[in-house]
Symmetry: C2
Subunit: 174 residues, 2 copies
């Protein structure tokens, strides 16, 4: 599928509601358990998505669209959520995610991005030149990846409980 801004916004606007439908009001056992050492629980993942809204996607878009000479992005902190989510419950995190995502989609739409804008570039700290189109496609894909991750982390809590059906459930091997 070719990149399309409106189709990307379809995903970006749905993600907080998808995750809310899955996690809001659910037991701690589903919410706070991860896949093992150095992996994330569903709760951690929601915090990560919020941190991305605050420091990554829109910030990097602004750099790309700016007239600044230096188009280098600040590296993203993949562990910020462990501090930032402390003392919050999942309802608070989901509300925060819905709010910042809504604001960011409004900012995105307000830029009236055209085909030429999509080709503009920024400098990624690890792999150099990237275009606005790639950034926006990644924002969209990143959402879907984390929805899949949340479902996988939860599925794995029943790895042993499914007995011989394990062989029919590829999610448990991922």
């Amino acid at each position: 599928m070719q990149f399309d801004l409106n189709r990307s916004i379809e995903i970006l606007s749905r993600t907080p509601f998808v995750i809310e439908a899955l996690l809001n009001g659910i037991s701690e056992e589903w919410l706070m358990t991860n896949e093992g050492e150095n992996t994330w629980s569903p709760f951690d993942i929601v915090g990560h998505l919020i941190h991305g809204e605050r420091t990554d996607w829109i910030t990097r878009m602004a750099i790309i669209l700016s007239e600044a000479d230096n188009k280098s992005f600040t590296p993203f902190d993949r562990f910020a959520q462990f501090e930032e989510s402390k003392g919050k419950n999942i309802t608070q995190l989901l509300d925060e995610f819905k709010t910042v995502r809504k604001q960011n989609i409004e900012i995105l739409k307000s830029k009236k991005i055209n085909a030429k804008d999509l080709t503009k570039k920024g400098i990624h700290p690890a792999f150099g030149e990237v275009t606005l189109e790639e950034l926006l496609a990644t924002w969209t894909t990143h959402d879907l990846g984390h929805i899949a991750q949340i479902a996988r982390v939860m599925a794995k809590q029943y790895t042993n409980e499914v007995g011989p059906w394990k062989q029919y459930l590829p999610i448990l091997e991922k």
Copy 2:
């Protein structure tokens, strides 16, 4: 996590709403595209989940809990949805899924399943004896697996569009 009926119902009752939040009203490009030959689109997956509600989980539970001598399950048809979903749109499928899932959760609750019931067995066509607990854990895990699959199929539509970020998006390699 140990199997728990109420915690399983938490997932089973959420799944239709999670998938509705993701798919209802979305473009055909996201909905009808798969991962390549012999793979399923999000639309196909919803049909598969409906077919499971109609012919698999509750039917097999009834066999396990019955006094019948023959506890063999009928093999599940993994391709039935291609015929059954024909001529329907996604809103119809999502409504159907919500309805049959709600009915099935009511049947499940009405059985007042106790610890002894969970150890009762049926005969799976491929791997023989399975317990009710394993069946119900699989029903739950199967939901989560297909939520992850839907997100993955959609993510892959932007495999090339994300440019060098592909290496940071493990969902695109699955």
